[in-house]
Subunit: 300 residues, 2 copies
């Protein structure tokens, strides 16, 4: 089978053998935003030629199924288990490709939240876990926290941590104070500030400026301090959300993503006295394999 994690800026294709093991892998800057005039079929050919037979079934997850993607794969509502997701694949006519739906959930006020691609990662992680309730953290531009269990994905919450960091670093008065450099102590200082009871993000962010003005933060520490403030705000808000969702005891989130980001999250979570475990690196490929099996696209 060919499984494709097809996002906004890049796409990564995996060839999986009959047991679901990855035998080949290729990535290309062929994300949805980079494909012009709807030339998705060409992109698929370019991505997959040579990594597996042309007769293999193909499955994709991520922004390829968004309104800006190839064919829209409508959101499934939460809770959603493997079978619900496997039954909702969207076939792309004239190809062997099926697209995994994104998920939508609603908070207590009825306000929607969405994910597209992360649901597949979560299912990839669940396959290696027991059926008990788990908390799964997926850091990124729009970080996701998901509560998942025997019934699949119960609910989730998005935090704009990565995007806020990028625009503050690149566009704000705070970013203009920053010099290149990394500073773990400044990261910790930012996380701690956002974890305190009286935290207030749009006020606390300004302290990146005032601490520099007062000579109490080096310009080389500004980036990590900002990152820490945003990460701490994410963790503090997510912990309150988990508590309201009835998740309190033995909270051991699984953090999945790029290694340096996972390390940063585990460091910040430790400051909130939370032990987090790293998840499997190829969670998306594992998730797509499980979904494809459930959908009868492949047989072990």
């Amino acid at each position: 089978m060919i499984a494709i994690d097809w996002g906004t800026t890049s796409a990564r294709a995996y060839a999986l053998d009959h047991g679901g093991a990855i035998v080949a892998e290729r990535s290309a800057p062929l994300g949805v935003q980079r494909i012009t005039d709807g030339r998705f079929a060409d992109a698929l050919t370019s991505l997959c030629t040579g990594i597996g037979s042309e007769s293999l079934p193909m499955i994709a997850c991520g922004m390829i199924g968004s309104r800006q993607g190839w064919v829209e794969a409508p959101y499934r509502h939460c809770p959603a288990d493997f079978s619900a997701i496997a039954m909702s694949l969207t076939r792309v006519q004239g190809t062997r490709l099926a697209i995994v739906p994104g998920l939508m959930c609603r908070d207590v006020d009825g306000v929607p939240d969405v994910m597209r691609g992360e649901e597949t990662q979560v299912l990839g992680i669940l396959s290696e876990q027991r059926a008990e309730r788990s908390v799964i953290v997926l850091p990124g531009t729009h970080s996701k926290w998901a509560i998942a269990g025997a019934s699949g994905i119960e609910r989730f919450s998005t935090f704009m941590t990565g995007e806020l960091y990028a625009i503050l670093r690149q566009q704000s008065i705070l970013g203009r104070l920053a010099a290149e450099g990394s500073d773990d102590a400044a990261l910790d200082q930012g996380v701690r500030r956002s974890l305190r009871r009286s935290a207030a993000l749009s006020h606390d962010l300004f302290s990146a400026r005032t601490l520099v003005l007062a000579g109490e933060l080096a310009a080389q520490g500004v980036s990590d301090y900002l990152s820490g403030l945003l990460l701490g705000a994410e963790i503090a808000s997510a912990l309150r959300w988990l508590e309201r969702s009835g998740v309190k005891d033995k909270l051991e989130p699984i953090v999945v993503g790029e290694a340096s980001l996972v390390a940063r999250y585990r460091r910040a979570l430790a400051l909130a006295e939370i032990d987090a475990m790293p998840g499997p690196v190829k969670a998306a490929a594992i998730g797509m394999w499980r979904i494809a099996k459930q959908a009868g696209m492949v047989r072990e």
Copy 2:
């Protein structure tokens, strides 16, 4: 006397008569960031020629006294009353100009906050108020909430509301969803969402996207919804800060600034069941007049 509110992008000069009444006024795009090669003396001449005799005393407040300004006027620590501020004017050598210092305060964790220019507006408002404790709100790129009383300015807190709005609107995925338009209902919806107990700004901002995706917010409402979220977050955080500062009863903040912004703040405050009063429009000029009198620069 000539009083100059000299900020980052523009400068506004007022000619005041012997009673402190404004008799002439002029503004120019001669803010600190727009002056190259330190040509501040030329800018002063260009700004003030013709609005008053050259022999008049001159006073300025705002970014002109910052490290990037003409001469740095060091921050005074809070609390700071009229006399403390009047005793700390920085004279610009070779001119008749004195610059009002900015203020610095520290929160319970010792983290600094700063203002430069707003302290003069607060003093301008106090002059029209009785000596009891007041809450003064100064909306802007970096909004300030100040607690002031008989002893002058006790403490204050900054919220990056205006700057966050600008960069989210111009640079983020949320801004790309927005169409031109104004929508009071969307503004109120954003304010209410940020005022709720379980508000979490970096999560709630994402709802500007999901509500559009779900067809529950029009593209024309995105800008005001974002503005409402940020404004509601400022108000919620400021109210907690006021409570920790012992300000609880009969809270009637005075909101000072550009008319449409004052109206927007009063509307949002009303959703938190807070009656706010508009302050005097020329608060900076009034404040500079009071400081100059206290410093003996002018006599009524």
